[in-house]
């Protein structure tokens, strides 16, 4: 009897974990590579396209790949999902198994381009008479190194201010356009029940957005020459003062408030958060809640001197130096990113904003109240500075100090000074990439 009980308990656990695993597999969509072996007689060039998007993203990629394969019969592209793409690419780049096209998180360019593992595409661009100006300038800048261009932008994104219409209406405030209005709106929408925060007026959970606030204050993350940090300035000070006021005087937020609240329990969805900065990637999630979540979007409020700022990010397509069919790979990259119809098809399939400006002129984006504020934001959004040590500086030098500041464990001047010395050191340590 006793043994029977424990055996049952154990088998129940094993059983449920097996179910769990199979569930995962279904979600991942393991259906790779059925399109590769095309007609035996013809000789289409086979290209391999690596990306690290699975599930929905994989289907979106495959939609584009299929459309390209149908559009002509010289080249056949195959999408291969690589979960740990960058690590695989490193070994592939040296051992000869390199893919022909790579889905590329653009900020990595400044680290990889100097190592000659990416193929510059300037001559292709010139040959086909394409202009860099057709794309968002900042995204082109992010894909460039030493005046050479290493890929074309597939998507662009930037954060804007999402607000809960119902909460703002009840508090009688309008969506803010300046820091002062933002503060006022946040104060009016925040609700405390004793010591328990019920509705936070404005999210201060992500210290990584410092860059964005700094732009709004008119400052910049790095010095003029791009070699040292530049945030220990009057502008940096005004950002921290603004945060300190919101968090400790106005008490519109509480440290850790949103931690661990995933989809479905997301504080913005459940009406526990009135305003937050986030990007277009959250649109499809939030739209799913339909009437239950009535939200709007405005471009990020301007700082004390009227400066606007947001950080542009996004993905591109690059051709590795080790690719066997660079010309054909270029055909595919051009077809996808530089053709208005295809860029638009991609945009509508994946709900991403394309890097090609022309495609964004489509009513699908221009006349949609959800997309329109992002288009406005993209006009002034700037990329992260192109320094190979930038993300390390931000994550290990700046953000930890900002967290200590937010928790009141470190004064304002101390925070800026320490961030500067630690940040400068991290930048210098990671600058040498040749």
């Amino acid at each position: 009897m006793k043994r029977w009980l424990s055996v049952t308990a154990l088998s129940a656990v094993l059983f449920s974990s097996v179910i769990g695993c199979s569930g995962n597999n279904d979600g991942g969509g393991d259906k790779g590579g059925s399109g590769g072996d095309g007609g035996g007689g013809g000789k289409p060039v086979e290209l391999t396209f690596w990306g690290d998007w699975g599930g929905e993203g994989q289907k979106q990629f495959e939609t584009m790949v299929d459309a390209f394969n149908k559009s002509q019969d010289r080249i056949r592209v195959k999408y291969v999902l690589q979960q740990d793409m960058i690590t695989k690419f490193l070994t592939a780049a040296t051992s000869g198994g390199s893919p022909d096209i790579l889905f590329w998180d653009r900020w990595r360019t400044s680290l990889y381009a100097p190592k000659n593992v990416l193929h510059p595409i300037d001559e292709y661009l010139e040959k086909d008479g394409l202009s860099k100006d057709a794309f968002y300038g900042e995204s082109i800048k992010e894909l460039s190194y030493n005046d050479k261009l290493y890929g074309l932008p597939l998507t662009v994104d930037a954060r804007a201010l999402f607000y809960n219409k119902k909460i703002l209406d009840e508090a009688g405030v309008k969506p803010p356009t300046t820091w002062a209005e933002l503060e006022e709106a946040a104060v009016k929408t925040t609700k405390w029940n004793g010591s328990k925060l019920e509705v936070a007026g404005f999210s201060l959970g992500d210290n990584g957005l410092f860059n964005m606030y700094l732009q709004q204050a008119g400052g910049s993350m790095l010095s003029e020459d791009g070699l040292k940090t530049g945030f220990n300035s009057e502008q940096g000070r005004s950002v921290l003062q603004f945060w300190d006021k919101l968090l400790n005087e106005d008490k519109v937020y509480k440290v850790g408030f949103e931690q661990g609240l995933g989809e479905g329990t997301d504080a913005f969805v459940t009406g526990k958060l009135a305003m937050q900065y986030t990007g277009p990637w959250m649109l499809s999630t939030y739209k799913k809640y339909g009437k239950d979540l009535d939200f709007g979007i405005v471009p990020p409020p301007a700082g004390p001197n009227g400066d606007k700022g947001s950080v542009m990010g996004g993905f591109g397509l690059v051709i590795p130096e080790g690719a066997k069919h660079k010309e054909e790979a270029w055909e595919f990259v051009k077809w996808w990113t530089a053709n208005k119809d295809n860029a638009l098809l991609w945009a509508k399939t994946s709900l991403n904003m394309p890097g090609l400006k022309e495609a964004l002129e489509d009513p699908f984006f221009k006349d949609d109240p959800f997309w329109q504020p992002f288009m406005e934001t993209l006009e002034f959004a700037k990329i992260r500075p192109a320094h190979p040590g930038y993300s390390v500086m931000e994550n290990d030098g700046l953000i930890p100090n900002l967290q200590l500041f937010q928790q009141g464990e470190q004064g304002l001047e101390d925070t800026l000074n320490k961030s500067q010395t630690q940040g400068d050191k991290l930048l210098a340590d990671n600058a040498d990439v040749k």
């Binding site: 006793k2 009980l5 490193l90 680290l111 440290v255 850790g256 408030f257 661990g260 390390v392 200590l404």
Partner: protein, 295 residues
């Protein structure tokens, strides 16, 4: 006589045959990489384009790397609390679960369950339980009129939360090891001690604890190694924050190697970590040796 030695030689041969696959794998996946890493730590290897000898530059840079030493401080703090607690709780659970009672196997299974869950999945659930406003932990504390902290977001409690979660996950398997150890202690030792009038505490102090010395050595060594290599729970629970207090050496090694492509420097960091583990395992061995077994 001759036939016995012949048999012995045959067995010897078979032993080598049986152990060869393991040793080959061990050589290919452990010894060779370790030697390679040692070599790489004196170069500026970046996987794709360069591998020049740079002497002890990487180690010089290490000396001035405040963040690296901070991560060491973090895991030492973690180990000092985690390792003793791990031993004490596993031992107590082991002794408790060693009683022969109705349904004890069910309880053993239940205590072992957390070990079966994946570290990342369990940590994700714990993030939710530890949420400052809507989490179960602070909810329960609320009934007693205590306002719980933002466990994972505050510098004072972040590391403690990680210690609790990892303890919860690791005591189960150590409990099993202790139960095995306890069942290996001959019953007659207890009997004769009882005849001599030893109290329950005496029996624990002079029989159980010394007899479990090899078991404790195993458990403590494994905990020390695991503690110094802390990564996944810490990464999922806090991403090294707040204020770097939960960043660990393994996190930095991964970042330098795979994100920044400074494999040479990362190898140097890894070597220092390996040496630290060696030193602490050695100290642990000495402490354990000092208490000689009775039988």
């Amino acid at each position: 006589m001759a036939s016995i030695s012949k048999l012995g030689r045959h067995q010897e041969k078979m032993a080598f045959l049986f152990i060869t696959p393991t040793m080959l794998l061990f050589a290919a996946f452990t010894i060779v990489p370790v030697v390679m890493a040692m070599f790489l730590s004196f170069t500026n290897y970046d996987v794709v384009s360069r591998m020049d000898f740079v002497g002890v530059d990487n180690y010089k840079r290490l000396a001035g790397d405040a963040l690296f030493w901070q991560t060491f401080k973090n895991v030492f703090y973690y180990s000092i609390i985690f390792v003793p607690l791990n031993i004490v709780i596993s031992l107590m659970l082991g002794m408790l679960m060693n009683f022969k009672r109705m349904g004890i196997k069910l309880f053993r299974t239940m205590n072992y369950l957390p070990t079966l869950t994946s570290a990342v999945a369990a940590a994700t659930v714990w993030i939710w339980l530890l949420h400052p406003e809507f989490g179960l932990v602070n909810g329960i504390l609320g009934y007693f009129g205590i306002i719980g902290p933002a466990w994972l977001a505050q510098t004072e409690t972040a590391m403690l939360s990680i210690i609790l979660v990892t303890l919860w996950q690791s005591v189960g398997s150590n409990m099993i090891i202790y139960i095995a150890g306890l069942q290996g202690i001959p019953e007659y030792l207890y009997e004769s001690a009882k005849l001599d009038g030893a109290t329950a505490f005496d029996r624990f102090r002079y029989i159980t604890w010394p007899q479990l010395r090899p078991t404790t050595f195993l458990v403590s060594t494994m905990s020390i190694i695991g503690a110094l290599q802390l990564f996944d729970q810490a990464f999922v629970l806090t991403q090294g924050g707040p204020g770097n207090v939960t960043k660990t050496p393994v996190y930095l090694i991964y970042q330098q190697g795979f994100n920044q492509l400074q494999m040479g420097y990362a190898s140097a960091q890894a070597f220092i970590l390996a040496i630290a583990i060696l030193i602490f395992s050695f100290i642990n061995m000495r402490i354990n040796k000092s208490e000689e077994p009775i039988v």
